[in-house]
């Protein structure tokens, strides 16, 4: 490593930590790019140094880290690669935990290797982001899930578990109100206990979007029940695909969830995130837009040219983050479509890019009479 690289690396840690703990959404886009560029260059160098796979990847993609002039110059790694490869960018011995995705689509989970530095940054980053949306006061947390998804002894953690763990940073106490990992049945005793202690109070509620709707709201609505938790914030994540299949629109979701908890629909906050980029979440602001924290970036890419597209143009969402030290999360290409809706100009006052999530990319079936192979290879 040259002297300049070493200097850059030395200063990187300080800068990342400062970015993570600081107040978010302050950097205007130009300043942000200037701040992040050297950090991402160093991330790429680290991936090349520690991961033979990433070294090959960048080489074959024709990337020279010294010639990265803009964030979009870094070729993104499709998110599926975390299912196919063990991608580690630190000493293997430093890995303390492996996050796993829910594996609902392919049956193969993503594996994200975390060292202490990454885990700490992710946790701190979540706090920095969520403070901007729910304040920093600790409150009782009602978890619409089973405690089994957040087993402290497990060496692996699902996306649901990771989200709960992040939100627990804001919890005085946690109460899980579903039971059975497969059944996810309402634990009425646990719910009754929580309500007895917290009725009429402002609490924090979290659940995966689909679970919150089908295993909690639908069950209680059927009974005509309401929970008096006026003023509480309801956070949810995990995507809309299954609910869209059931024709549930976001406004309907917010209204009915708000009514169930006797809180304003504005207190129902959807956030977008993924297990491959824990620590970087995108809650909806008051204007319904998703903002990018100062330690991360979002690039919307045209699926045909792979060039970055400007506001209003739909494209593949790429999430860049400086948080990961132990896996190559510098530029991850999702299988989601989104579009930029603003740049430093959101009425909510947050700076940088803001975007909206449009939909998951549908898996295209091979069409026509050339579609044979999946069936054919099964024959063999």
């Amino acid at each position: 490593m040259s002297t300049s690289c070493a200097d850059e690396a030395k200063s990187t840690k300080v800068t990342i930590d400062a970015l993570v703990v600081g107040k978010q959404y302050r950097l205007a886009q130009k300043d942000k790019e200037r701040t992040l560029l050297p950090l991402f260059r160093e991330k790429v160098r680290q991936s090349i140094k520690h991961s033979p796979n990433m070294c090959l990847f960048y080489k074959r993609m024709g990337l020279d880290p010294d010639r990265i002039e803009g964030l979009a110059d870094i070729p993104p790694l499709p998110v599926t690669m975390f299912k196919l490869f063990d991608l580690i960018t630190c000493d293997k011995a430093s890995v303390v935990r492996v996050l796993k995705s829910s594996a609902t689509t392919t049956g193969v989970p993503s594996k994200i290797h975390l060292d202490k530095t990454t885990a700490f940054r992710q946790s701190r980053a979540l706090v920095s982001i969520l403070t901007e949306f729910i304040g920093n006061q600790r409150r009782p947390l009602l978890v619409i899930d089973t405690e089994q998804v957040n087993d402290p002894k497990a060496t692996t953690l699902s996306a649901r578990g990771a989200a709960i763990r992040g939100i627990e940073n804001f919890a005085k106490s946690s109460t899980y109100v579903l039971k059975g990992l497969d059944d996810l049945l309402l634990d009425r005793d646990a719910l009754a206990g929580f309500m007895k202690a917290n009725e009429g109070k402002e609490v924090l509620i979290y659940g995966f979007t689909y679970i919150l709707w089908t295993r909690f709201l639908e069950v209680l609505e059927k009974e005509g029940s309401q929970l008096d938790l006026t003023g509480s914030k309801v956070l949810h994540s995990g995507g809309w695909k299954k609910l869209k299949d059931r024709k549930v629109e976001k406004s309907v979701f917010n209204d009915r969830i708000g009514a169930l908890f006797r809180t304003s629909p504005n207190n129902v906050i959807d956030f977008y995130g993924m297990v491959e980029q824990v620590g970087v979440i995108f809650p909806d602001c008051e204007e319904g837009r998703k903002h990018v924290p100062d330690f991360a970036e979002v690039v919307i890419r045209d699926p045909v040219t792979m060039d970055e597209v400007g506001p209003g143009v739909p494209g593949l969402i790429e999430v860049m983050s400086v948080l990961p030290n132990s896996y190559p999360g510098e530029a991850v290409l999702t299988e989601d479509l989104g579009r930029l809706v603003g740049l430093d100009d959101c009425p909510c006052g947050r700076k940088g890019k803001c975007f909206e999530f449009l939909e998951r990319v549908e898996k295209a079936e091979l069409r026509g009479c050339g579609d044979t192979f999946a069936e054919r290879s099964g024959d063999r």
Partner: protein, 423 residues
């Protein structure tokens, strides 16, 4: 009833209406009486004129149209009849020596379910079915309407307009079970083009007990070159032809090559070969830029590229955009197609090593095996294992006879016999 036009299932008040299959069947059967009376020679004459008009029309450069126009040439259609029946007079008179004579009669109503990957596909089975005197109904996917409508409009301006009373083109969603059943129940022969799901869905529909099925089901195709071909001074031209085979129909046809196997030991390295293929991809991309790349297709391409870029024993060469991709590895296998200008390149010790991969699901092999003895051995082994066609590069997607191992027109007639008094 408008025969020879597409019935979109929408009435004048823009209300969705379902095509009346029974009424359509009755109309086209009536129309086919004139077709049969006309006889194959006159039908061929009309189709030949359609080919000529197509080549002068504003849709002449639409994908698949130039080949369709050439295929419609009188000489080609006569050749098809001869290859299929020997003496084509068998379609118009009882033929044979001795007391027993045989005549090929049309089956009646042929109902065709056409796949969406190659819009002009349906015309090949339609025109062959017309030549032997059948009435026809084509069910086409909505995505093919524009191309087929274009051809039908040209047909209406040609001498082939006379034939348009004998067929009808309809479109409705493939999920419309009652219409599929209704169409199936009218059929004397069902012609099915499509993937496994479509083929299974249609062949499982109720039908008349005498109904014959002609299935052009899911198939896989690949290409192979021996070291002699790789050392040929015409190598660049061969690769140009191969790339044309890859590019046409977005590589979604059953005859589209998905893998290129190359024999090791030539003077050309794999990297060098990838560069030469890439050069042809670049050239073709300038001539006919890829269109219709959805985010889903792009994701499939990008994912596969990344998998190869991350792997130690693999390599790739690709355009900066998602235009074309060459994926190199040494695993002897037929890979899941990525399509859309993506070819897997695999070295093998000997071209004959590929033969154990072949099953009857492999349809076409584009082969440039310039060692004659090996070529014969390869073709015999491949066709014995299930392959229908071994053709030079550049001809993989040319619809020819036989197709999928069938002399198609022979499946669209009934061979009927009679006995006469001794001559």
């Amino acid at each position: 009833m408008n025969c020879g036009t597409i019935q979109l299932g929408i009435d004048v008040n823009a209300k969705v209406v379902e095509p009346d299959i029974k009424a359509i069947a009755k109309t086209v059967k009536n129309g086919a009486v004139a077709l049969k009376a006309m006889g194959p020679d006159k039908v061929i004459g009309r189709l030949d004129d359609l080919g000529k008009v197509l080549l002068r029309s504003d849709i002449k450069s639409m994908e698949g149209v130039p080949f369709l126009a050439m295929w419609l040439r009188k000489a080609n259609l006569h050749k098809l009849l001869e290859e299929t029946f020997g003496d084509p007079r068998i379609l118009t008179e009882f033929m044979g020596t001795g007391r027993r004579k045989v005549k090929a009669q049309p089956r009646g109503l042929a109902c065709h379910w056409i796949a969406g990957n190659v819009p002009t596909l349906g015309f090949f089975s339609l025109f062959q079915s017309m030549m032997v005197g059948n009435a026809n109904i084509l069910r086409i996917p909505a995505a093919s309407v524009d191309v087929i409508q274009g051809v039908l409009e040209v047909m209406a301006r040609s001498e082939a307009s006379e034939l348009m009373g004998s067929f009808s083109v309809i479109t409705f969603p493939s999920s419309n079970q009652p219409l599929n059943e209704s169409l199936s129940m009218e059929a004397d022969v069902r012609v099915v083009w499509g993937g496994m799901e479509a083929v299974n869905a249609i062949t499982n529909l109720p039908t008349q007990s005498h109904c014959e099925d002609v299935v052009f089901g899911p198939k896989y195709s690949f290409a192979v070159m021996d070291r002699k071909a790789l050392g040929s001074p015409k190598l660049q031209m061969l690769l140009r032809r191969l790339v044309n085979d890859i590019v046409i129909f977005d590589q979604e046809a059953c005859s589209s090559p998905q893998v290129l196997f190359i024999e090791k030991g030539g003077r050309l390295g794999c990297k060098e070969l990838m560069g030469l293929i890439g050069k042809e991809f670049e050239a073709v991309s300038k001539r006919s830029p890829k269109t219709g790349t959805t985010s889903s297709v792009a994701t499939r391409i990008l994912t596969k590229r990344a998998e190869y870029a991350l792997s130690k024993k693999k390599d790739l060469l690709a355009s900066k955009d998602t235009g074309w991709t060459i994926l190199y590895d040494e695993k002897l296998a037929l890979e899941e197609p990525v399509q859309h200008r993506t070819i897997f390149l695999k070295p093998v010790d000997r071209v004959l090593d590929v033969l154990p991969l072949i099953t009857n699901k492999v349809q076409t092999i584009g082969y440039e095996i310039h060692d004659r003895k090996t070529a014969l051995q390869f073709a015999d082994g491949a066709t014995s294992a299930g392959v229908s066609r071994c053709v030079p590069f550049g001809q993989m997607n040319l619809y020819d006879n036989p197709w999928d191992g069938m002399l198609v027109m022979s499946r669209l007639v009934r061979f009927c016999s009679m006995f006469t008094e001794e001559d």
